[in-house]
């Protein structure tokens, strides 16, 4: 995907520099602000694709910062980082105007996947389409029909939602926790490989007997659906 401009507002300099470095290595542009006020000033620049904001910041607390931005009609997608990680904390963060929430400590792959999904949301023309298409695979969200090469494939309702989410973010890495959050609406760590088993079941239905395989495992990160032929 095209490079994103990301602003990281985080007071832990070491953690922030690690993030900046890692994001640059993945081909994105990343800036860093070390406190809430500086972060607020810079976040007013609407050309950022995503803001990554720590909840507890010196000078201006993360939630107030988001509230201030939203009041200024700056709707850059925000990913909240928090060391608290309680159920209530997530609710508070999203209510304050955040778009996604990631408890600390996090895996970089998780953060990257979420940031990319958020950045995509900002792009024009990413509205709610009724037909998702990945290569030969077509998912009609209105009639709940799935076809590959014109041949209908029947799915369980949950499998349909799983595929729908994957196809909505086609070409992007989607992590296991993102799937659990968006398909099952649970935010805990499933501990075991429950999601993997769901994926392999789905894969058996959409990829078995077809070439090329569309649903791919991204090692150490999650899954991605992509038209491999292109």
């Amino acid at each position: 995907m095209s490079p994103m401009r990301i602003l990281i507002i985080e007071d832990d300099v070491e953690a922030a520099q690690y993030l900046v470095k890692a994001l640059r290595e993945t081909g994105h542009v990343a800036d860093h602000a070390a406190d809430g006020l500086d972060g607020y000033d810079r976040a007013c620049d609407p050309t950022y694709d995503v803001l990554v904001i720590d909840r507890m910041l010196p000078k201006l607390d993360g939630l107030s910062l988001i509230g201030g931005l939203r009041a200024q009609k700056i709707d850059t997608p925000v990913l909240i980082l928090s060391a608290l990680g309680q159920v209530d904390d997530r609710v508070k963060g999203l209510r304050a105007g955040g778009d996604d929430y990631l408890p600390k400590p996090y895996a970089f792959s998780e953060l990257l996947a979420r940031v990319e999904v958020l950045a995509r949301r900002k792009q024009p023309g990413s509205g709610e389409e009724t037909l998702y298409r990945v290569g030969p695979l077509e998912l009609d969200r209105l009639s709940h029909k799935l076809t590959r090469n014109g041949k209908e494939i029947s799915l369980q309702p949950r499998e349909f939602r799983l595929l729908e989410y994957l196809m909505k973010h086609a070409g992007q890495v989607v992590t296991r926790t993102m799937l659990l959050e968006n398909v099952w609406d649970y935010h805990f760590d499933p501990q075991t490989n429950v999601i993997d088993v769901h994926i392999s079941r789905l894969r058996a239905k959409i990829d078995k007997g077809f070439e090329p395989p569309l649903l791919q495992t991204v090692r150490g990160a999650g899954y991605m659906i992509r038209d491999g032929a292109r």
Binding site: G85, Y186, P190, Q191, T192, V197
Partner: protein, 495 residues
């Protein structure tokens, strides 16, 4: 502060003192009023007597002139206890009567006069009288009076009574106040002594009760209940921190060992990569553990939940069942969900879902019946993969009285009856589950969630196997019951 000084400073003593002052003022007002009325009454009586006398004497004068008047007065003054009489000439020369002197000017006054007077044979005018001066035709003046000593004496008696009664009142009131204060102070001192001992760290100490059920007893009872809750929390915090120390040090040790090992023995970049990946995995486990422990600690502290809602327990059970169904199938374990619809819970759907997921996860992991073959294999000390007989894990939602029970049952080895009580006793875990990696907190977490929702977690025998029951209070605001057809999903079998 001396003991007496302390007594004087007690609230009880101050209150009794205040009452004493109020009572004394009240008594003084009443007695003063009585004294006043008595004086008025006596004065009025004197005035009436004097007026009657004057009328009589004026008639005598009219009848027989000054001579008859003098005779009558002489006769009267000789009788004992007589009134006071004086007849003078126009110039004020006494002619008759038992008064020999009046202060100058008195004779010129009219009406009722209060004045000093001098009796015959006395050197000075030291008595007080109430008298009326009456001018007789012919220039003579008639003074008829009455001594006021009697009234004065009465007032003196009343005044004396007032003073003595006030003195007694003060003495008795003060003593009584001190006695009551001492009694209350003794009890408050006992409570204070115990409170100080508690503040010094002895949380097992309790405030003494007198057994009278009075307000001090009730206060002590409530404070004791508060202390009981506090020490319960303290014990909880201590146990949780002990558990945290144990649970976090184990994976930390593994993490450290892994790093050390890689530093010392890794030769190739692949070795390093493997070691680092292992370390990330270990730290993820550590984070998971830490989150679960935080949750448990929070539940133990009894803090209130945010973001609660009413939701159908069957829906959560089915969601979780459906989440684990492919995994169960892969493991060769049947997973069934039996849920009565329309049983509403109030609480955190997220946390209850997580607890249930943990229980199902445990059941899938541990809920297998080990075949006798596995036992033989273990005896022969060979590393043979244990051959497991597929078990059946059953998730069920039922209503039982005021509670909604969500149960997860398996046919695994279960938990021995002697350990069952212990496993629920404040997050104690059996050594076996403690040392098994990646799990062990599931039950504790479910118990914490139950606790947070004012419910309980029960462990029962599934004969054979284990049944864990999450009993949660039904939502008070129960939405209209849906048609109560039992919806049964048999997952795993269907596929």
């Amino acid at each position: 502060m001396t003991a007496l000084g302390k007594l004087f400073r007690t609230t009880v003593f101050k209150i009794s003192l205040a009452y004493l002052v109020l009572f004394a003022i009240g008594a003084g007002l009443v007695l003063a009023r009585v004294g006043w009325n008595v004086k008025d009454l006596i004065d009025e009586q004197i005035a009436q007597t004097v007026d009657a006398d004057i009328t009589g004497l004026a008639e005598q004068y009219a009848e027989g002139g000054i001579r008859q008047l003098v005779e009558v007065i002489d006769r009267r003054t000789r009788q004992p206890g007589a009134g006071l009489y004086l007849v003078t000439t126009h110039a004020g020369e006494p002619i008759a009567g038992n008064i020999i002197g009046l202060p100058p000017g008195v004779l010129d006054q009219t009406g009722l006069v209060e004045t000093n007077y001098q009796l015959a044979g006395e050197p000075v005018a030291k008595h007080r009288a109430l008298a009326r001066i009456f001018a007789l035709p012919g220039g003579f003046r008639l003074v008829v009076g009455h001594d006021t000593e009697e009234g004065e004496r009465l007032r003196h008696i009343l005044g004396g009574t007032l003073v003595t009664s006030l003195i007694w009142l003060t003495v008795i009131g003060t003593l009584g106040g001190l006695l009551v204060a001492r009694r209350v102070l003794a009890r408050v001192d006992a409570i204070n002594a115990n409170a100080q001992a508690i503040a010094a760290g002895d949380l097992t100490n309790r405030l003494p009760l007198a057994g009278t059920g009075d307000e001090l007893d009730r206060l002590a009872q409530n404070l004791n209940a508060m202390l009981a809750r506090m020490s319960e929390l303290m014990i909880g915090v201590k146990e949780v921190s002990d558990n945290i120390a144990h649970d976090l040090k184990t994976p930390l040790t593994r993490l450290r060992n892994g790093a050390e090992q890689a530093l010392n023995f890794a030769a190739t970049p692949e070795d390093y990569r493997a070691a680092l990946e292992k370390m990330i995995e270990e730290s993820d486990n550590l984070i998971r553990l830490f989150n679960a422990l935080l949750m448990i600690a929070r539940a133990e502290a009894g803090s209130e939940l945010d973001g609660i809602s009413d939701f159908d327990a069957a829906l959560v059970a089915r969601d979780v069942g459906e989440l684990y169904e492919p995994l169960a199938e892969q493991e060769g374990v049947g997973l069934s969900v039996t849920a009565e619809p329309g049983l509403y819970l109030r609480g955190s759907r997220e946390l209850i879902g997580q607890a249930l997921a943990n229980l199902v996860d445990n059941a899938l992991k541990h809920g297998r019946l080990e075949s006798p073959v596995a036992g033989v294999a273990a005896l022969s000390a060979q590393i043979v993969p244990a051959q497991n007989v597929p078990g059946e894990v059953a998730l069920a939602v039922h209503r039982r009285g005021e509670m909604i029970e969500i149960s997860v049952a398996d046919h695994g080895p279960g938990i021995a009856a002697k350990d069952r009580a212990r496993v629920l006793e404040r997050f104690v875990r059996l050594e076996a589950s403690r040392s098994r990696p990646g799990s062990g907190l599931g039950l504790s977490l479910a118990a914490a969630v139950a606790h947070l929702h004012h419910g309980t977690l029960r462990i029962e025998d599934n004969v054979p196997g284990l049944r864990v029951v999450l009993a949660l209070p039904a939502s008070a605001a129960q939405p209209l019951a849906l048609p109560s057809a039992q919806a049964v999903i048999h997952a795993g079998e269907a596929a």
